[in-house]
Symmetry: C2
Subunit: 235 residues, 2 copies
């Protein structure tokens, strides 16, 4: 398999860095091809703006998604965006490695989605969700948290990690056609060295069975009616 790791942490010696390094070595030794986008090391531009296009279709009014659509057709993205899109299309499996900051991804990774997940490439008005442009590929979030596991349970103070916190992120992956699988979560790993070792072992096991990780259940588009509502029979 071709595995792409999108990695977003400013400190190479962090536990996120350790998880990323483990994924590279383990997946390589398993015979997979691995590419890494180390967003901080690349100094990846986070902010979507008019500079993302070599030529503008409309110079008077920036409608970002429309410019993306045009750039896909005319090959008009800046090099950094184009390279990330090529890696995405190359990949069979994408791992996102990041710390949960403010209940979401770090800005540098949000910017990667805003800029790389382009209209006309990963989705169109007709082709999205299970028909999205990245169809046939899987994706997994691998995260670290600042609060303990209990805080993210159904009655936890921070809200259910699956149903509430990671839902918007996984929905974005799904909208682009990716099949999101259950996340790997290291709960507050910074506080305990034994915990870290345990998490690395656990992650190693996960990496060895990448294709066996259960997918997050999303209804296909065909289960919704023309008003975007889940049909009665699937509720």
């Amino acid at each position: 398999m071709n595995v792409l790791i999108i990695y977003a942490h400013p400190e190479p010696k962090s536990f996120n860095g350790a998880l990323k390094n483990l994924a590279v070595s383990e997946l390589t030794s398993l015979g997979h091809q691995v590419k890494v986008s180390d967003l901080y090391a690349m100094n990846f531009k986070a902010v979507a703006d008019s500079d993302d296009f070599l030529m503008r279709q409309d110079k008077d009014f920036l409608k970002y998604a429309r410019e993306q659509k045009n750039a896909v057709k005319t090959n008009n993205f800046t090099k950094d965006i184009q390279e990330e899109q090529e890696k995405l299309l190359w990949a069979d499996f994408v791992i996102f490695q990041f710390p949960l900051w403010w209940y979401s991804v770090p800005a540098i990774l949000k910017g990667w989605f805003d800029r790389v997940f382009a209209s006309g490439l990963v989705y169109t008005g007709e082709k999205c969700y299970d028909a999205g442009g990245l169809k046939g590929r899987k994706a997994m979030l691998s995260i670290t948290t600042g609060s303990p596991k209990q805080a993210y349970g159904p009655y936890g103070i921070d809200g259910d990690i699956h149903e509430k916190i990671l839902y918007p992120i996984n929905s974005g992956l799904y909208f682009a056609g990716l099949e999101p699988v259950e996340p790997f979560i290291a709960w507050t790993p910074s506080h305990d060295e034994a915990d870290r070792e345990r998490y690395l072992e656990e992650y190693k096991g996960r990496l060895q069975q990448l294709l066996d990780i259960p997918s997050i259940p999303y209804h296909p588009q065909s289960h919704y009616n023309e008003e975007y509502q889940l049909k009665m029979e699937y509720r």
Copy 2:
């Protein structure tokens, strides 16, 4: 009241720009003091990294939150962060004006949270949620969407806008001590000029009764036990 508007859209002529402009004029004419952080116009740095501190406490290992905590004590933030923090502390009410991109905020706004919502200022290990550093202030999300309202209902294809999509963002506000009120949502305003006018009128009404907007119900920290679980009596 002192009202701070955090505005994140790359196109000044956008509908987000129109909503921001309306808020400035309407709130000013109502006698409020208004400040705007126009993140794109400010070329606001989105990526949290070691450059955010004039002096590092630990130069060998970047633990971002720890450096924030130190920077609060020693006045060591870069000027752009410090200015935003001062505006926040000045404000009684904060409006976040942005388009929903990939089920979340644009990266430039995520970076504003990552960098400005500093450990030691808006939260500590002990003071967070209803005891957070921004306690006594209210906040409102004002957003535009790319999908119609039905898609964001409880059975909508994109997931419930309140329970799923905006939940992590509002939780971040709440964690910092802000009291989030019900969001203002303009559903796919770009497609219909009459819709736009209607939304501007509706928003104007909202701005005239800013303090009457119902708050989003969050349990205070005292409703949770030591394991971060909602106590039985509040379920």
